[in-house]
């Protein structure tokens, strides 16, 4: 229990655990939508584009997460709009917002007079410096995710599985595409505090990749992604505290380890099952 006692003692560690739980809920849900609809590259673009907003906020002396939020939501909507109009190939558009956002951020950070504090934590995340504002934002993001993906699950599944048939059923396809993309952008930005612009995408893809090994439905992937994201984050934070390594990277390393172990487990089980059925045929 000595490993866990600091987490009861220090407020910043309690905040870290709480924020990991909230981010796990938000990213587990949004990420399942992202992975099942193959929007991983788009989400990566949105998270990098948000760095432009962080740089601009530093330059103007504003709250950086606010700038990130505006840039992320606008770029997500822009890519959706351009893709719908076929004005430009969708993946090219993502490449543009990805690099343009980073370039904008770098220029503004360079132009900001004096030392820019916390720059590294926006790039790579730091769960140990999460404050109450961040917690409220994460709480809001997970509440919105629960509302959208649990309450309106049938609508989300219809849209994600077959957009054209959803149109035939006269569902508000365009509106939902924009709304869910904006929700993914909000989820990304609120998680940047934990994992950073560069690493946040793994919160939306790694737990889902693990869940995808053994689930057959989108609802199953969502449930298990939340569980795995929360548990993996706890393990990552404990590891990060005791080994004194960056929290974001440590959590992602834990996710990857979990993926390997579970994949291996199911491979062995399948192999054993096949061997057994062979034996049955022989005897």
């Amino acid at each position: 229990m000595d490993y866990l006692s600091p987490f009861l003692e220090y407020a910043f560690l309690r905040n870290a655990i709480l924020s990991a739980s909230l981010a796990g809920i938000a990213c587990g849900l949004s990420g399942s939508y992202v992975v099942s609809r193959r929007l991983v590259f788009l989400s990566g673009g949105v998270s990098h584009a948000s760095f432009g907003g962080i740089g601009l906020a530093f330059f103007l002396g504003m709250h950086p997460p606010l700038g990130a939020m505006v840039f992320a939501v606008l770029s997500a909507i822009l890519v959706q709009y351009l893709g719908e109009r076929h004005a430009i190939r969708k993946d090219s558009a993502i490449g543009v917002i990805w690099s343009l956002g980073m370039a904008t951020g770098i220029i503004f950070v360079y132009l900001t007079p004096g030392y820019v504090p916390n720059l590294m934590s926006y790039l790579f995340g730091n769960i140990l410096t999460v404050n109450s504002t961040d917690l409220w934002l994460l709480g809001g993001a997970s509440a919105l995710n629960l509302l959208a993906f649990v309450l309106f699950y049938p609508l989300v599944l219809s849209l994600a599985f077959d957009e054209n048939y959803a149109r035939v059923r006269q569902l508000p396809v365009n509106f939902l595409n924009y709304l869910l993309m904006a929700l993914v952008a909000i989820t990304i930005v609120t998680t940047i505090r934990i994992a950073g612009v560069i690493l946040v995408i793994s919160f939306l893809t790694l737990p889902q990749a693990i869940a995808g090994i053994f689930t057959r439905s989108l609802a199953g992937m969502m449930r298990w992604s939340v569980v795995l994201a929360v548990l993996g984050s706890y393990a990552g934070i404990i590891l990060s505290y005791h080994l004194d390594i960056p929290s974001g990277a440590s959590i992602i390393f834990t996710f990857a380890l979990m993926f390997l172990i579970i994949r291996l487990f199911f491979m062995v089980r399948e192999f054993a099952g096949r061997a057994r059925s062979k034996e049955q045929i022989r005897s």
Binding site: S36, R38, F152, P154, L155, L157, S158, A160, F161, D162, N164, Y165, A166, R167, V168, R169, Q170, L171, P172, G212, T215, R216, S217, L218, G220, M221
Partner: protein, 246 residues
């Protein structure tokens, strides 16, 4: 009783017209086979009827019976739905998406039995909890047909349902369609004229314009007169006519 009336209707994409001034009435109990060359406008016609493509001019009328409280009671089996086979979804859930309706019924409570009925109808009830991506091509087609009929539509639209499937599936499909035709009108696009002429009641030839033929016999003269150049392929003991060289 009429379900749909198209009159002098034109439609197309951007600046390219595809359908020019077509007229068609669909009645209750109809089984219309739609034939015509590629690019002639068969799929465009289906899209207009489904409400996916707004017509440029002319009129498009739906019977009250077909637009129940603002919701069109039309089932649809697309030709190539372009679905992601790795999408995590169970067979039963695919059919449940066919029961979604705008502004109402956004939830699935109490709908499972309807979905299971549709699956039983196509003979796929035992696969209900399987993953959709693990099915064979013919089985997937059956599940998508169950999705199309789950909400008991007044009109069923099929776009080349026999493209990616084997003969065994075709036989099942056509006997099922005959059964369904007792309850709903059917419009079916097909390349297989042999199949068309032995199962449908009437034929519409679409090639820019639309020519309606009040029987299911296809003759070379008819195809030529209607400028509907397609090859006639038949097999098996089907009602057909062999024409001389010309």
């Amino acid at each position: 009783m009429e379900l749909i009336k198209l009159h002098g209707l034109s439609a197309g994409y951007e600046s390219k017209p595809v359908l020019k001034g077509i007229t068609l009435d669909v009645h209750q109990g109809d089984f219309i086979g739609v034939i015509g060359p590629n690019g002639g406008g068969k799929t465009t016609l289906l899209k207009v009827i489904l409400g996916l493509l707004p017509p440029w001019s002319g009129s498009l009328w739906y019977a009250q019976d077909l637009t129940h409280k603002g919701h069109k009671r039309i089932g649809y089996l697309p030709q190539d739905p372009g679905l992601d086979m790795q999408f995590p979804v169970r067979v039963k859930d695919v059919v449940l998406t066919g029961l979604m309706q705008r502004n109402r019924s956004l939830f699935w409570q109490g709908k499972e039995s309807k979905a299971m009925q549709a699956l039983t109808r196509v003979g796929m009830q035992e696969w209900a909890t399987r993953s959709f991506g693990s099915l064979s091509g013919g089985q997937r087609q059956k599940v998508l047909l169950a999705r199309a009929i789950a909400d008991r539509p007044a009109l069923l639209i099929l776009d080349e349902p026999d493209t990616f499937t084997d003969q065994r599936f075709e036989q099942d499909l056509y006997s099922l369609l005959r059964e369904l035709n007792e309850e709903m009108a059917i419009i079916m696009v097909s390349h297989d004229l042999g199949m068309i002429s032995s199962h449908v009641k009437t034929i519409a030839c679409v090639n820019g314009g639309l020519h309606y033929h009040h029987s299911n016999l296809i003759s070379q003269e008819m195809l030529e007169a209607y400028e509907c150049p397609i090859d006639i392929i038949t097999h098996g003991h089907l009602p057909h006519r062999v024409l001389g060289e010309h």
